[in-house]
Structure formats: structure tokens, C-alpha cells
């Protein structure tokens, strides 16, 4: 008993180990058979954490494809409250001064072409946008259901990359 206490004092997590050793000794008094096995197979310290970490890595490599897990790990859930979040979109259609930008959501957003670097905004350009509203829909007086515009409302912040001007790619989220 006294030897174990002196050993523990040298270790940082002495309190934990002290209680652990106490527990293992008490079980030894009660059941002799199981305690021997538990003391020898029980790994402590670095060995235990190494085992735990390697098991964690193995679990991550197996992909789960249930809908619930796919949704939970999706970008939509990562977004949280979509208002004022900045995302990356891609221009898929251009009509004179209107840019139709798709950012991975159900709807696209339409933004007007900005004045600086206006010629870089072509089909296939990647842009940064700030989400104001994911779907422009509201209930008007006298109607049972909402009226949707089938569009998202976003503010165009700037360009990331454009097929017109091939530059070194900036850091993308």
C-alpha cells in the first residue's frame, strides 16, 4: 500500500492512478480470478491512448451512407443559420448584366454585374457571395400559402477565379 503511494507521487496524474490502484486492489480482495486478468490486460497511459486513437482513425475510414448520417454531415447543416454566411458559387448563366450563380442549394441566385473587373464574370467563374435569404418567399394578404420566386437572395462580394484570367488560385474554404 505504502509503496504504491510513493510511486504515484512521482506521476502527474497521481490522484487518478491512486484511485485506480485502490479500485484494482479492492477487486483483488473480492474476486481473485477476474482481477488478475483485468490488471494484466488493462493498458494505461500512452499505450491506452495509442490504441484509442488508432481505432478512431479506422472508424473514420468506413463511410456510412444512411440518409440521416449524410444529412448530418452535409454542408447545409454546417452552414447553421444561413443569413449573412459567405459561400462560394459558380456562374452558370449570364444574361447581359445579370449573373445566375449556383452555390449548391436548391435555388440559384441572380446578381447584377459589378463595375470593377466586369469582364471577368463569365460562365464558369467562381465567386464569393453572402447569403441574405435562401428562398425569396412570403405570404401575401388573402392567400393560403406562400408565393415563392424560386430564387435565393445573395450579395455578390467578389470573384475568386475566372476562366478568362487564369491566376494562382486563392485560398478557398
Amino acid at each position: 500500500m505504502f509503496s504504491s503511494v510513493s510511486m504515484c507521487k512521482t506521476l502527474k496524474s497521481c490522484n487518478v492512478l491512486f484511485y485506480k490502484r485502490n479500485f484494482s486492489i479492492s477487486t483483488k480482495l473480492l474476486n481473485t480470478d477476474s482481477s488478475d486478468a483485468s490488471i494484466t490486460s488493462e493498458k494505461r497511459g500512452f499505450a491506452k491512448s495509442f490504441e484509442k486513437q488508432s481505432q478512431l482513425l479506422q472508424e473514420d475510414s468506413v463511410p456510412k451512407h444512411t440518409f440521416a448520417s449524410l444529412l448530418r454531415n452535409s454542408k447545409l447543416i454546417d452552414l447553421g443559420d444561413p443569413k449573412d454566411k459567405i459561400v462560394i458559387g459558380k456562374i452558370f448563366h449570364v444574361v447581359e448584366d445579370d449573373l445566375y450563380i449556383d452555390f449548391g442549394w436548391k435555388f440559384h441566385c441572380v446578381c447584377t454585374r459589378p463595375t470593377n473587373r466586369k469582364d471577368d464574370y463569365v460562365r464558369g467563374a467562381r465567386v464569393r457571395i453572402q447569403i441574405k435569404d435562401l428562398e425569396l418567399s412570403s405570404r401575401f394578404l388573402g392567400s393560403n400559402t406562400d408565393l415563392t420566386l424560386l430564387e435565393a437572395d445573395c450579395k455578390l462580394l467578389g470573384i475568386i477565379s475566372s476562366p478568362i484570367r487564369p491566376t494562382t488560385s486563392e485560398k478557398s474554404s
Binding site: H65, T66, F67, L70, L71, S74, L76, I77, G80, D81, P82, G104, W105, K106, F107, L134, E135, S137, S138, R139, T145, D146, L147, T148, L150
Partner: protein, 247 residues
Amino acid sequence: MIRRCLILPLRNGISVCRNNSTAVAEQAESTQESNTPAKNPLDHPDYFQVHNLFTVKDLFDARVHFGHKEGSLNEFMTPYIYGSRQGHLIFDLDITAEHLRKALNFTAHIAYRGGIVCFFNRNALNAHLVEKTAMECGEYAHTRFWRGGIFTNANHQFGAITRLPDLCIFLNTQNNILNQHTAVRDSAKLLIPTIGIVDSNCNPNLITYPVPGNDDTPVAIELYCKLFKAAITRGKEARMKFLQENN
């Protein structure tokens, strides 16, 4: 075929082994099948293996689970909704996958029997894609303005005896935000089976095989077009093979 015995304990403890009533019939059928190699495709739950055409992950990547906001929810769509995230509804893709499998199976069977399929889509964003898909699989599409009596007054409007489609596939059941497509109601009147992609603001009641899912994103419509085209092609190939074997 394993005979299934039901052991029923009687009052005095003597048990009677009774054969499953269909076991004898199954054996007779199996002997019949071995004599005549032609199987009836309707007996098989998935004769054309359309269940292998997609996975839930494919649906997820094609953004099929996105719905509209809670304010525009049609009350009849509530059983298909998984939940709502920040006011935006999410479809339960397990339910969607099951409905889509049934719809694809039905499409393949209709194509196998030589039926005419007509695609409908009133969303201008995807109209060209739908027309191209219909052309590629040798079927028909109607993505323009629908005159009132095309189905109900067909002989008069087209001037000759017309054959109506045997299946209508609606990739978008709405005509515009406010109204449902007239062809949904007219197909029901004329007993034409319909398959429809119903979004959270659509009414699934009149559609024979509703498939709850996103109908606004071009990626989702592309996926549906690809799946229906594959199902129709499989049905037609099986039909060609059957006709060649018997001629």
C-alpha cells in the same frame, strides 16, 4: 422448395404437422416453369433491375432532399418530409427512394409492353433537357403551353383518331407557382397512369406514383431524366429481345 410445417399443439398434447397450404401449389408452379421457360415479368418484383440504377447517396448528391420553405407546404406532403432545417423542409430520402423504385419499375414495364410515355415539365430552366431526354429514349415530351382539351378533346383538336399516352411522367407537376398542371387532372379523368415528382408545395393526390423530391434544381432534374431514360431503355431492350425470340 422447403416445406414449411406448422406444428399445432392439440389439447391432449398430440401435435399435428400440417403442411403449408401453398407448398403443393409452389411445387406445381416450379414444374410448370421448368417446362415453359417464358416467365411472366409481372411476377417478379424487379424484373428489369431498376433498383440498381441509383442509391440514396446519388439522390443526396443531386440535391433531391431540398424542399421549399415551411410556409408553402402542401398539407398532403407532410408524410414525406423528414423535418425542417431553419425553416426549409427536407425530404426523407428513404421514402423517396422507395417511391422512385416503384415508379421506375412501372416505367420499365410500360416500355416493355410497348406503351407511349409522355414527359411533362413547365419549368423553363429544364425544358430543353427534358425534351432532349424524351427524344433520346424515343418517347414524347410536352413542355409548352397546354391547350385545354389536348387529352379530353383530342380527336377534335388533332383532327384524327389519336392514341393518348399510356404513361405521363411529370418532372414538375406545377404549371406555375399557383396552379397545378392541367394534364394531372386530365390523365386521372382518362385513366392514364401518372408518375410525378412532387415538391413540398405540390399536391400528390391525383398522381398514381408520386415521387417526393426536389423539382427545381437542374441537377435533380438531370438525375431524374437519366433514371427514367435508363428504365425506358431497359424495358424496350427486353421487349426487342422477347420479340426476336418468338419470331
